[in-house]
Amino acid sequence: MRECSIQLEEKGDLNILRLDGSLDAYSFPRLESTLGHLQESGKHRVILDCTALEYVSSAALGALIGFARRAREKGGDLKLTNLSPKIYNIVELLGFNKILEVCDTAAEAEAKFGARA
């Protein structure tokens, strides 16, 4: 499995993280530290673009929920976009689509952030 690489784009007050590869117990700490840095610097509006994400472990998804919760407490959110059918299936199986906001495209997620601001 390929390691997960993370590309960060700042778009106004939105931070878009593009994930590439596979996100499991071994690669999650990198995403965790990126999300931690964003949160520490007061950036709570985050979009995770999963277009190139091949695999995500359920434990990694669980950890994302913690970040989403803290972001919401600060008036922001963490939204997922462009999930492959396979990854969406995992999210749905765990019922996490009831907790995390999942959007089809990054544009949709941006619009939803806009509407909330």
Binding site: A59, L93, F96
Partner: protein, 476 residues
């Protein structure tokens, strides 16, 4: 004439005196410098002996602090740091810091102005910022293993500039810590306290210290890894023992029903469990769960889950009600990123009615005698991850009427995500096939067929997640 000669003679004399004085002064200064250097060298030799006197017994962090103390003293530096490679060998972490060590990468953030203790804030920033292999000066020295001496660091574009006086970097010296062909990390010192730039002499001393220190650091690092491994192993051992104790020792004998189950624990992550509960004369509870956290934390969560289900099963024939109670107990105490997916079903053995509640778990499969397959879906979120109102609002149970000959299968994702050497997953389709062709023969036949096909698929590839599967055959 005589006067003129006498004046010239006097002048020559004075010149000679001045010359001798200056010469003497220069020699004295040279001598002092040499003495100082000699002192530094002697001091250094003494220090090295100090540093490593009991190096085989102290822990790595202690040893690094000591190495840094003498490094700073030897080079008369204002501040210093030791960076070591993380176990991944890709990132360097500041393991020891002395003085106010300015960040060499990443700069300082706005939090510095607000920070109560500025030095503490800067130290935290340096300690939390990992430096990649080859990244910046530190990463470069660690990657190539060559020292860098910047007597005048202020003119070097690779050195960050700070407005705050106590962060300014005027002179910088970085040496690699090598052991055999391997770079373990780097030793960095900044700004000599006497305002002089670092000299090649400082470099030699610091490199000599680093070379000596590397041997001890290497072995202390090995010890640290070993200690950590023993600690994790102990934790996993305890977890494994708890988990094993939770599994049924033997399957219950239930009239009209054939039961079968397997559980293969993986080496690393996981925490699967399953349970059959004889609720009353006509009700059988069937639970299967997968906890996301590893180690003892996960095992304890699992054991709470099992106890709550067992305690409440007799009073509540509704599986959704039981899962809500489990969630109420666990959502309070569970650490933020840990959760359990649970499937709990109650079978009425008299009416063959099956009620299913699914909290984020894999959907159960019903196979008819004719080989028809149905995947039972019902909404629900994993336990311990959402707030109670959300959990209770989403969770719904479904009821199905089973027919004689039906086989119902429940499993954990370790089964469908079992991998072969080509990193391919076994997958749901293969599982469904394995169930379909064997279900006419009953629960044990399904179980054995799944096991055989899955084992053939994965070969000798090591698995990282527990694999659990249970099957229940409604007999005629």
């Amino acid at each position: 004439m005589f006067y003129a000669i006498s004046i010239i003679a006097e002048l020559i004399l004075i010149a000679a005196f001045v010359f001798l004085y200056l010469q003497n002064r220069r020699l004295r200064l040279q001598r002092n410098a040499l003495l100082q250097e000699k002192e530094a060298t002697y001091g250094f030799i003494h220090d090295v002996a100090e540093v490593f006197a009991d190096a085989t017994t102290v822990d790595l962090d202690h040893l690094l602090r000591r190495v840094l103390y003498y490094a700073v003293r030897t080079t008369r530096a204002g501040a210093g740091a030791v960076y070591l490679y993380e176990p991944d060998k890709q990132n360097l972490r500041a393991r020891a810091i002395s003085g106010i060590f300015p960040p060499l990468l990443g700069g300082v953030d706005t939090g510095l102005e607000r920070a109560m203790s500025k030095s503490q804030h800067v130290e935290n920033m340096v300690k939390t910022r990992l430096i990649g292999r080859g990244e910046g000066l530190v990463g470069e020295v660690a990657d190539f293993g060559n020292a860098v001496l910047l007597p005048d660091a202020e003119t070097d574009p690779r050195v960050p500039r700070y407005e705050l006086d106590f962060l300014q970097i005027r002179s910088l010296l970085i040496v690699p810590m090598r052991f055999h062909q391997q770079v373990l990390g780097v030793l960095v010192v900044v700004n000599r306290v006497d305002g002089q730039p670092f000299s090649p002499g400082d470099l030699n001393l610091l490199q000599a210290l680093a070379d000596q220190a590397s041997i001890s650091v290497f072995y202390a690092g090995l010890r640290e890894t070993l200690d950590e491994k023993i600690r994790i192993d102990n934790d996993l051992d305890a977890a494994r023992r708890i988990q094993t104790s939770l599994l049924p020792k033997a399957l219950p004998r239930v009239e009209g029903v054939e039961l079968a189950a397997f559980n293969y624990p993986a080496l690393e992550i996981g925490g699967d469990y399953y349970d059959f509960i004889e609720v009353d004369d006509t009700h059988l509870g069937i639970a299967i769960a997968d906890v996301s956290g590893k180690g003892t934390g996960g095992a304890i969560m699992m054991s709470v889950c099992r106890s709550v289900i067992r305690a409440h099963a007799p009073r509540h024939l509704s599986p959704a009600q039981v899962l809500k109670l489990v969630n109420q107990v666990l959502s309070r105490d569970v650490s933020e990123d840990m959760f359990i997916s649970v499937l709990y079903m109650v079978l009425n053995t008299a009416t063959r009615e099956l009620v299913v509640a699914r909290a984020g778990h894999e959907r159960p499969i019903v196979s008819t005698e004719q080989g028809g397959l149905t995947i039972l879906d019902s909404p629900g979120v994993a336990i311990g991850i959402s707030d109670t109102p959300t959990f209770e609002r989403v969770l719904e149970e479904v009821t199905v009427s089973l027919k004689p000959g039906d086989v119902i299968v429940a499993y954990t994702d370790g089964v469908t995500e079992a991998m072969n050497v080509r990193d391919e997953e076994w997958g749901l389709d293969n599982l469904l096939d394995a169930i379909r062709v064997a279900s006419r023969e009953g629960a044990n036949s399904v179980l054995n067929n799944v096991r055989q096909r899955m084992e053939r698929f994965v070969g000798n590839r090591q698995q990282y997640d527990d694999m659990t599967l249970l099957a229940l055959h409604v007999m005629k």
